[in-house]
């Protein structure tokens, strides 16, 4: 009896084995053009001899089929880009790997330690890799035309010690989203200053029973919330050479956040509220104000199109316009020239308007290229964000200590719900200092 079971399972293994082997030749060549392709059943012809070069590519998931505005999803989107590129450049073969944001850095760091760093990488801060001299320079992986087509502010933001490494892939700017119905019920106007926002949020809370202001200080994205408030007081977290968290401006900003918490106008437990679930509360019309970004517009369109909402500039201490901009980038860990040349071909192809603009539109982000911005300037959804972009300030991602600072902001900022702001800022600064 047992013997028989073993034999049948061995047979089963053999069968599946053969199945997988036959698909082996396809695996990693990226999906076929049609998104209905069966898993693994892509149709690339493979490297067609000559001086073929194989590249690896590691990217995170921005959206999936069900959550993206056009129903495509990040993986299928990249697969199409890669497949179309390979069709035009049969000598360059790209093996695509897509992981969730949660796992991206774990996978990347393991690959680096195993000498398998990707030739094309899409991620957040890269200054740590620059410090270890792991990255190819931007000029090695793009043509001068492509490089000069990026908006200058984004290019500047990618420079470490005067040299550019990352290529700005996409951008976002935060704006104040408000629920028109709740504001009307509370009888308040769209605020511009902290005081006005507090008054408005109080009114929403008292008159409608819903949280006036959604403050997500949980580990998911506390750094963004903290940065918006700090910018509102003229603060920030430093620059390329110095991380400054424990400053009077930031203290003022953190105290202001505390004021909101103590006034009871936020959702409960702001210190441990994650951004994504909270945002779904706003989308469902259960919140007066939140800071959100372009993909939120897409989310509302998909999930609750009847929501009446507006988009305004972030509230600041004195009402002046400033916002948090975030840019994600592409970078390359390629060492040898043939691979760098392959990457260059890919980047020049990808950042051309015909490829790049649909990609950015599909993910509901803002373009980083000049011609892309022109092409998308008529897009009503993105307009309010494009207008805010000039006043956007970025995280000091070019500082090698930023990654650790970012981590400290994520895991410690929420403590202001219970501890004095000054203590929390001091703790985060200490973590930043230990890393620099």
């Amino acid at each position: 009896m047992m013997k028989k079971t073993w034999r049948t399972s061995a047979l089963a293994i053999g069968a599946i084995d053969a199945m997988a082997l036959s698909s082996c030749s396809f695996s990693g060549s990226g999906g076929s053009g049609s998104s209905s392709a069966a898993p693994g059943g892509s149709s690339s012809s493979g490297a067609a001899g000559g001086e073929a070069v194989s590249l690896t590519m590691l990217v995170p998931t921005y959206s999936d089929t069900k959550t993206s505005v056009d129903g495509v999803g990040t993986k299928a989107r990249w697969e199409k880009v890669v497949a179309d590129f390979q069709a035009k450049n049969p000598n360059v073969k790209i093996t695509l790997q897509v992981e969730s944001w949660d796992n991206l850095e774990t996978v990347l760091k393991t690959k680096i330690q195993g000498n398998q760093a990707p030739d094309i990488y899409n991620g957040g801060a890269i200054s740590g890799f620059v410090a270890d001299d792991l990255l190819a320079k931007a000029e090695e992986i793009t043509s001068p035309e492509t490089l000069s087509n990026f908006q200058d502010s984004f290019n500047t933001n990618e420079k470490v010690g005067g040299t550019q490494y990352g290529l700005p892939l996409l951008a976002s700017a935060r704006a104040l989203f408000y629920n028109k119905a709740l504001l009307k019920e509370a009888g308040v106007e769209v605020p511009k200053t902290w005081d006005e926002l507090l008054t408005a949020a109080k009114a929403v809370k008292e008159k409608t029973g819903n949280p006036g202001y959604g403050m997500p200080l949980g580990s998911e994205e506390a750094q963004a919330e903290a940065m918006i408030w700090s910018l509102g007081a003229g603060g920030g977290f430093g620059n390329e050479s110095e991380i400054t968290v424990d400053t009077p401006q930031n203290l003022e900003a953190f105290d202001e956040m505390k004021k909101f918490i103590d006034a009871g106008v936020t959702q409960s437990n702001p210190g441990s509220t994650q951004r994504t679930p909270m945002m779904s509360g706003f989308v469902q019309g259960k919140m007066g104000f939140v800071y959100a970004l372009p993909p939120t517009v897409a989310q509302i369109k998909k999930e609750n199109p009847s929501l009446e909402y507006g988009i305004a500039q972030p509230a600041t201490k004195d009402g002046s316009a400033v916002t948090l901009g975030v840019a994600d980038r592409l970078a390359s860990f390629s060492k040898d020239q043939a691979k760098k040349d392959g990457v260059k071909k890919f980047m020049d192809y990808f950042f051309s308007d015909e490829v790049y603009v649909p990609f950015i539109k599909g993910e509901s982000f803002l373009p980083t290229t000049k011609t892309g911005a022109t092409a998308m300037s008529s897009d009503e959804t993105l307009k309010p964000f494009l207008e805010l972009l000039p006043s956007a300030k970025f995280y000091p991602t070019t500082n090698p200590a930023w990654a650790a600072t970012d981590g400290a902001l994520k895991s410690l900022t929420g403590q202001i719900e219970k501890s004095p702001s000054a203590d929390v800022l001091k703790q985060i600064q200490a973590k930043a200092d230990a890393a620099s």
């Binding site: 069966a38 089929t65 959550t67 495509v72 796992n103 994504t276 999930e303």
Partner: protein
Amino acid sequence: MAFLAVEDQATKGRVIGRMVIGLIIALVFLVPYLVMFLGSVKTKEEILSYDSQFLPRDGWQWQNYTEMWSTPETPLPFNMASTIIISVAATLLVLLVAMPAAYYTARFRFPGRMAFMALVILTQMLQPAILTTGLFKEMLLFNIADTWLAMILINAAFNLAFATWMMHSFFAAVPKEVDEAAQLDGAGKFRTLFKVNLPLVWPGIVTAVIFTFVSAWNEFAASLVIMSTAENQPLSVALTKFIGQYATSWQFVFAVSIVSIIPVVILFFFIEKRLIGGLTAGSVK
């Protein structure tokens, strides 16, 4: 209800009492998976709805179970196959490796016996999640990174401890006279193990099999870094592909989770009888 005759003076009332208690226990253990199941047949929006209901409000979304197999996010049929192959092979390997060791250490005293058992339990104390980089480097060295073999070896090695110790304790409980009798009959050690001892320790083997299979089935940390091709990744890693930056397709995460429970339950269904088999086997002198 033939077994009632065998059993102690179980009155009808007592049996019904047991059934009621059994039902309550079953419910307690099932409730979280009921929540999971109900989530898997809701729409993504409804799962995170503030006005949620227990049952699907917007209709039962059975198509989640069909759609999930062919999303561009992950090639789920392949993930399923990889998971099955890795888990089955790792379990067989563990049995093959652990059984002789467990038998021998339980039966014989020799220098190095305790050292061996200590070495084995050491592997259990290491948490694979903190060893992933080392494992990745090692598999690159063996040139088997991103293959089933790598994960089969890893899963087998890190689950060896329980199987060895568990079977050891069962072999040790078998009366020595059983072995002695067999050996007097001229049976070698292998024969003694397979023909005489094995039938007596089924419950231990079954427990070891389930334990190993389940750990291999759900292993995540090492698979994440070692299996880079989407088709090779097990279900535990495939699940994470539905998690986006600002939105997650929870309906698929839940549906895949439900489906991934089923093979283990089937395995269990078929080998659970062996646990009862131990009852009679144990009483044979």
